[in-house]
């Protein structure tokens, strides 16, 4: 189930990252791109539920760790959206993906060479704003005055640790400036079509078999068509 894959690193070298896969050499092969940061943890269980359903329906799927994420030992502070996008392209090639399925912020990383789906896409600035706010609220509770505005100005120059995530200056600038437009061959799926409560918002991790069924049903219908 777990394999390693050769992942391009920011300095041009190649590292080794882990991937969870259901691979029986079938013709339809789906690259899964998870959300970044906190939502990666909140959605991991659900993503595995989704993969089990694809597997049961004859679709191979691959969930690679991106450098600095999940079990990766690469420092998060060295990573960037551009670097993760390059890693996603490399993973797609390595696993021979025919389609891509990305969740939330993972949608920013979809290779434009593959047809696929982006589930509940979020804006880069919204993700950054949530993390800035978590830090300034925590600071205020501790009696320290840190405004989001000052934190952002500092982070754009020097990088910043937000809500426990060690973010480099490049990544903060990408999040602050990024107006992400999905590639033409990626179809976005809104949460309303899947139904139920958005799992990435929940303070406690959870999973929802009914939502996994609905989402996989939407994609299988398109794959068959």
């Amino acid at each position: 189930m777990y394999v390693s894959w050769p992942c391009p690193l920011p300095d041009g070298s190649t590292g080794e990252e882990m991937a969870l896969r259901f691979d029986e050499d079938r013709s339809r092969r789906l690259l899964m791109i998870p959300p970044l940061f906190d939502e990666a943890n909140k959605f991991r269980h659900q993503l595995v539920e989704i993969m089990r359903r694809f597997d049961a329906n004859g679709v191979d799927c691959f969930l690679p760790d991106l450098p600095g994420c999940n079990e990766s030992t690469a420092p998060l502070a060295d990573q960037s959206i551009a670097g993760w996008r390059a890693a996603a392209i490399a993973a797609a090639a390595y696993f021979g993906a025919t389609h891509v399925f990305a969740v939330r912020s993972g949608g920013w990383l979809v290779p434009d060479t593959l047809p696929g789906w982006i589930y509940a896409l979020v804006k880069p600035r919204q993700v950054l704003r949530g993390m800035l706010r978590a830090r300034s609220l925590a600071a205020r509770e501790a009696g320290v005055d840190e405004s989001s505005e000052n934190l952002l100005a500092c982070g754009r120059q020097e990088g910043l640790t937000l809500a426990g995530w060690d973010l480099g200056a490049t990544l903060i600038r990408e999040l602050d400036e990024g107006e992400f437009v999905p590639p033409a061959n990626a179809v976005t799926i809104e949460q309303g079509k899947v139904g139920g409560k958005p799992l990435w918002l929940r303070a406690e991790n959870d999973h929802d078999p009914a939502q996994a069924d609905a989402l996989v049903g939407i994609i299988l219908a398109r794959l068959a068509g």
Binding site: R133, A134, L137, A163, K197, R202, A203
Partner: protein, 100 residues
Amino acid sequence: MTADTASAAKTGPSRSEIDQTLRAILRDVLGLDQAQVDGFDGETGLFGHLPELDSMAVAGLLTEIEDRLDIVIEDEDVDGEMLETYGGLLAFTEAKVVEG
């Protein structure tokens, strides 16, 4: 009443739409049941009363309110009063929608 409704439609979501959206956000962010959020009134306690609403959840809640209602909530807007009761949060959000 008719005139009020007409002008609300032109200027943005009506008060009852804001109310419904806010209840849906609390339901989604805090993982509450629909029946529980339907039962909220102006006096229902939020921060310090709902165990689900810790400071990380507050950050998520405010960001989600901004996104779904297309408003901006500044750091200095956030205080104990706006989060203490459902009525307080609703009044704050309505004021922000009118401002925006």
